[in-house]
């Protein structure tokens, strides 16, 4: 029997951490609070070191609405600055990437060196009477660090170190990343009409793989698929890397019409066809598919607007033929014309369309599939989703299943 309106709006009859209220995806106040309490206090992925390989190489980006530029300095250090001129606040670097000797604001031609120092003001002597002194006009620097070739920033100067923050969640990918000199060969970004958490959690909700034809044919029906446990880590991270007995999970790519198994070009440290995913809170996912590495990250713009970013990594210096093969395999699964990522975008937009008008008041995450040990949970469990919202609730100081009432009570 269909539910009445009252029944539909009542919380699901499950334990509290097994559902969240849809307002966490749609409420502008909650989004603003997330920016302050989560996004500006945790380590945020920026780019791969290969994108800023040479002195003067830069990547312009933004985080929580703040324009930023990450640049490799003359001392080889990678730094991030707020990308706005100390004079009248114009954005300084306007290209997404490039190489520069210094940063010049196009408005009044003020210049900054790659350490963020203000080094030139046309007719600068006119500031001598009222000030400020030029040395007080340097750019604001944002804490920047690198882990396994991945560049991160953190607005919070008091946060724990990047290595401590990632902790054991780095195990499934750090060694493989360090086995090679990697470079980004694929990039695309998509403006998704959905919430940043919904995008990220699609990477962590592997139950949805039933819906992808590729995953259904090459993975879900493959022996061992369900024998992989979620490994939860502190700070909201987690990964799914091996079968419970420690052996790799090997995808059968040849089961998809016209595809071949991935036995060649496999990254050192992986088995042929091996799949792994590591999720770094709050929104970076690192995927391996034997020959391909995917970095998936997003930039939240508004509750229902997220910029999704996709990067593919290859081995620097590999032959043209090998790169083409690797690229072909990457874009079969990930990319705007792929068999997987474009479908994920559609899932996120479809759910958001129902969440933003209240048609779907709760997001259910009550799947539990234990191994025989009754401790570890299998691949199609919602364990990681609950783990994510546990960390979200800790940082936000409220449960995700009732965030608005909590806000009202606090007022």
């Amino acid at each position: 029997m269909a539910r009445t309106a009252e029944e539909h709006l009542s919380p699901p009859s499950v334990q509290g951490d097994a559902y969240v209220h849809s307002s966490v995806y749609t409420d502008p106040d909650i989004f603003g609070e997330e920016e302050e309490k989560i996004l500006r206090r945790t380590w945020k992925f920026v780019c791969h070191v290969s994108e800023v390989a040479e002195v003067g190489d830069f990547r312009a980006h933004q985080w929580t609405g703040v324009p930023l530029v990450t640049v490799r300095g003359n001392d080889d250090g990678i730094r991030t600055f707020v990308n706005t001129c100390s004079h009248r606040g114009a954005k300084i670097v306007r290209e997404p990437a490039g190489n520069m000797k210094h940063m010049t604001c196009f408005f009044h031609m003020w210049e900054y060196d790659l350490f963020g120092n203000c080094t030139y003001q046309p007719r600068g002597e006119a500031y001598e009477e009222l000030g400020p002194a030029r040395e007080d006009l340097s750019l604001r620097e944002i804490r920047t660090d690198v882990f396994a070739g991945l560049v991160f920033i953190n607005f919070d100067g008091a946060a724990e170190s990047l290595r401590d923050y990632i902790g054991e969640a780095g195990e499934p990918f750090e060694e493989i990343f360090n086995n090679h000199e990697l470079e980004v060969f694929h990039y695309n970004q998509t403006h998704v009409r959905g919430n940043w958490k919904a995008w990220y959690l699609t990477n962590c909700d592997l139950y949805h793989e039933w819906s992808h034809l590729v995953n259904r044919t090459t993975s879900v029906l493959t022996p061992g698929y369900h024998d992989r446990p979620w490994r939860m880590q502190r700070n909201g991270h987690g990964y799914n890397a091996h079968l419970i007995d420690g052996s790799p999970f090997q995808v059968q790519y040849k089961k998809y019409k016209s595809w071949k198994n991935r036995d060649d070009l496999v990254f050192k440290g992986l088995a042929p066809g091996e799949f792994r995913v590591t999720d770094i809170f709050p929104n970076l996912s690192v995927f391996f598919r034997a020959t391909c590495i995917r970095l998936n990250h997003s930039t939240p713009i508004a509750p229902g607007h997220t910029i999704m970013e996709e990067r593919g990594l290859g081995i620097k210096g590999e032959s043209k033929e090998d790169r083409r093969s690797r690229s072909k395999q990457f874009i079969q699964i990930w990319g705007p014309f792929s068999r997987n990522a474009s479908e994920d975008c559609a899932y996120v937009e479809a759910t958001h369309a129902c969440q933003e008008n209240g048609a779907n008041p709760y997001d259910l995450m009550s799947r539990v599939e234990y191994f025989e040990d009754q401790v570890h949970e299998r691949i199609h469990s919602d364990a990681y989703l609950r783990h994510f919202y546990g960390e979200w609730g800790r940082l936000m100081g409220r449960p995700a299943n009732n965030p608005r009432n909590f806000m009202a009570a606090a007022e």
Partner: protein, 152 residues
């Protein structure tokens, strides 16, 4: 028999019409046995050329055969193509440059420009009818929403 420029234009226009109509068998018949098809662009973010689709006949055939089985973008595409240049490249091949605008219409009937780009084609003109031997759809557009499973 010499293949005329009009025959080449007709071939390129057919490739658009067959894709619009999702008449995939007819679309594949426009290509040589050994053809290669790519969708490429220049990424300003990573400062390099990149491929977003790269398939040969077998891979294209498998891809198109599976399209109806995939969950995918609903609605339809319409390709508007203008052949700007045809250059003879010896007796057996010609090169054609075509500007393409792709419109997307939602299931509700709203239409917008989805992407713009250029076909860089190599045409096999050695037989009775021209065939596409190589197509590079070089996209100017780099933001294509949730994407699609189809060649462009």
């Amino acid at each position: 028999m010499t293949i005329t420029d009009d025959q080449i234009r007709n071939l390129i226009h057919k490739s658009c019409r067959f894709l619009d109509a999702e008449e995939f068998d007819d679309y594949l018949d426009l290509y040589t046995e050994e053809f290669e098809y790519r969708i490429t662009n220049y990424s300003r973010e990573i400062r390099r050329e990149q491929e977003w689709m790269d398939v040969n006949r077998g891979e294209m055939k498998g891809l198109l055969a599976n399209v109806p089985l995939h969950f995918r973008l609903l609605g339809s595409f319409m390709r508007h193509a203008t052949v700007y240049e045809i250059e003879r490249d010896g007796a057996d091949t010609a090169k054609a440059l075509t500007y393409v605008t792709i419109y997307y219409t939602t299931p509700e009937g709203a239409t917008s420009v989805w992407a713009v780009g250029r076909y860089h084609d190599v045409i096999d003109v050695s037989g009775d009818t021209p065939l596409i031997a190589d197509r590079n759809m070089k996209l100017e557009t780099r933001e294509v929403g949730i994407g699609t499973h189809l060649p462009m």
